[in-house]
Symmetry: C2
Subunit: 348 residues, 2 copies
Amino acid sequence: MDFDKAAAKISDGIKIKINKREVTIILCCVKKTDNLWEIVDYSDVPIPAVFETLNYLKSENLIYFDEKACHLTERGVEIVGSLHPVEDMTCSYCEGRGLSLGKFSDLYKKFIDIQTSRPAASHNFDQGYVTPGTSVARFVLAYERGDVEDKDILILGDDDLVSIVLGLSGLPKSITVVEIDTRITGFIREMGREHGFEVNVNDFDLRKPLPGMHMKSYDTFFTDPPETIKAADAFLGRGVSALKEPGSAGYFGFTRREASLTKWYDLQRLIIDYGMVLTDIIHNFSEYVNWGYEEETRAWDLAPVKITPVKNWYRSALYRIQALDGFRGSTIDYGEENIYEDSESSTT
Amino acid sequence: MDFDKAAAKISDGIKIKINKREVTIILCCVKKTDNLWEIVDYSDVPIPAVFETLNYLKSENLIYFDEKACHLTERGVEIVGSLHPVEDMTCSYCEGRGLSLGKFSDLYKKFIDIQTSRPAASHNFDQGYVTPGTSVARFVLAYERGDVEDKDILILGDDDLVSIVLGLSGLPKSITVVEIDTRITGFIREMGREHGFEVNVNDFDLRKPLPGMHMKSYDTFFTDPPETIKAADAFLGRGVSALKEPGSAGYFGFTRREASLTKWYDLQRLIIDYGMVLTDIIHNFSEYVNWGYEEETRAWDLAPVKITPVKNWYRSALYRIQALDGFRGSTIDYGEENIYEDSESSTT
């Protein structure tokens, strides 16, 4: 099996460049699990590329599909035997985040309770929210780094309800949410009233530049952009433009499920060009709850086996970035443009 | 207390730009601990800037020193009361690395035993080696990512003895070490003979470009460069130039103890310019054993309280970078130049 040739052939068929390393990892994932969505999870390769690779491996008689799953053929077993096994060495106590949530366990319990009545993920707005543990862990990380207490905090798109975690903590100086979905903004307002915290909630489409009142006004922002460079620029760039001063920080998730490392590279260049420095990239920090509209997505159309996921399989890395002298964000107006899709995306 | 003014004044006195955020964090660290070296550890600011800030805070009557330690004055206590407390939310099971070492606990025990007879850290070569747990954790991370098993691995400077961990595992296809200190190269050779693993050991000064035989020959490299941009270019750039192909990966430590975030920014720009993408930046991944020559360093001269550290206090982040199409490293010849010092360094 010539994995270089395989990678070249697979890349030709889709508009995503994949390499030998990725093809071999995908093959090894089939040894680890027969579930399509877990293969995507372990491989850390964009979904369309994973599925195209699986189709190629099938054509090479290394794997086969049945109605529910994906298996190695005899030939596949033989080849995988000489390759690195896919193994998960994640710390089971902190789920790989490196953080203890212990100090905030009461807050965590309260938030778990509150978020059960949250609005469902909306396909319209490309929503897919994270587990309550993820939202609390984002808060704890920012707290440890000194980006929460007595700080003015902006959340750009808040289907993860980070504003509620922040509100319950009572620690920030102010909390502001900018969000397009009125179900979410309504829920946050309601929880604020019910649990006695204040949030400035703004119904707003982030494809447009932020109103002037938000410029250079916040110490910290949180966001979770869709994984295209334009959407990253819209969400992150707006966040950066809203930061007060050098030392201010931003937190956001970015996945490999819809972004190749080539796109990650473009993202990192964008961040550097904003005059922001990367302080943390934490692998698989954020875990997303299966959003329930899987069968309406491009990923479903591409899937060689039509089976809905059981376990959560969509994860993203957490980035923390910090402002340096001369930082500036983005004020590009994307109008009504569809900035949410590219060749690597498939769950929008 | 005007922290902006303080930051400007402190920055004027040294050639390191520090901001309001950092001055307040250093003040809050004095509440957390009275030990000078732990203040450096928690603050994540270059040592000369921490000490200059402490001197400034003393002149403002916010802190005072006694023979052994650093304390808040009454005025200091008052001001700190309204600021974010410095707290450590690190997962105590994995020490914040997010990894379980369980699968390799026998290897870990064996390595702990072996490294007790290692050569002491040499001031000549700016050595300061990591704890055995750190060396094993670097191996485990690389193992999980598929960068160890059946791979050709290069270690550029190996006072952390990663080659011995790799050798004991029996997993790599080949292990090559390039190292200037003949005590280290001798020790690695000896351990290889004693424990039955092969390592290609080369006595070599990394200020010079790698010989042609190493170019484009490795799947993975490990290094731990001194924190100047030239040294980073020498160590990392050589590592990158030795990688085989897109998908090959590099691991290295980089601290904030001798590098401001402005220098981190320059480092990240360098990495991007190599055509490498950052996949991980793991805060405080590496812990260094107190090296024993503290009193000979610039840090000691600058220290407002002359007390030797007790606990390990020098930590660095772990970076993982991966090669993309068109990547290339550095072949600059630094000759006999002192590339190991700049205004932010103080332990060389």
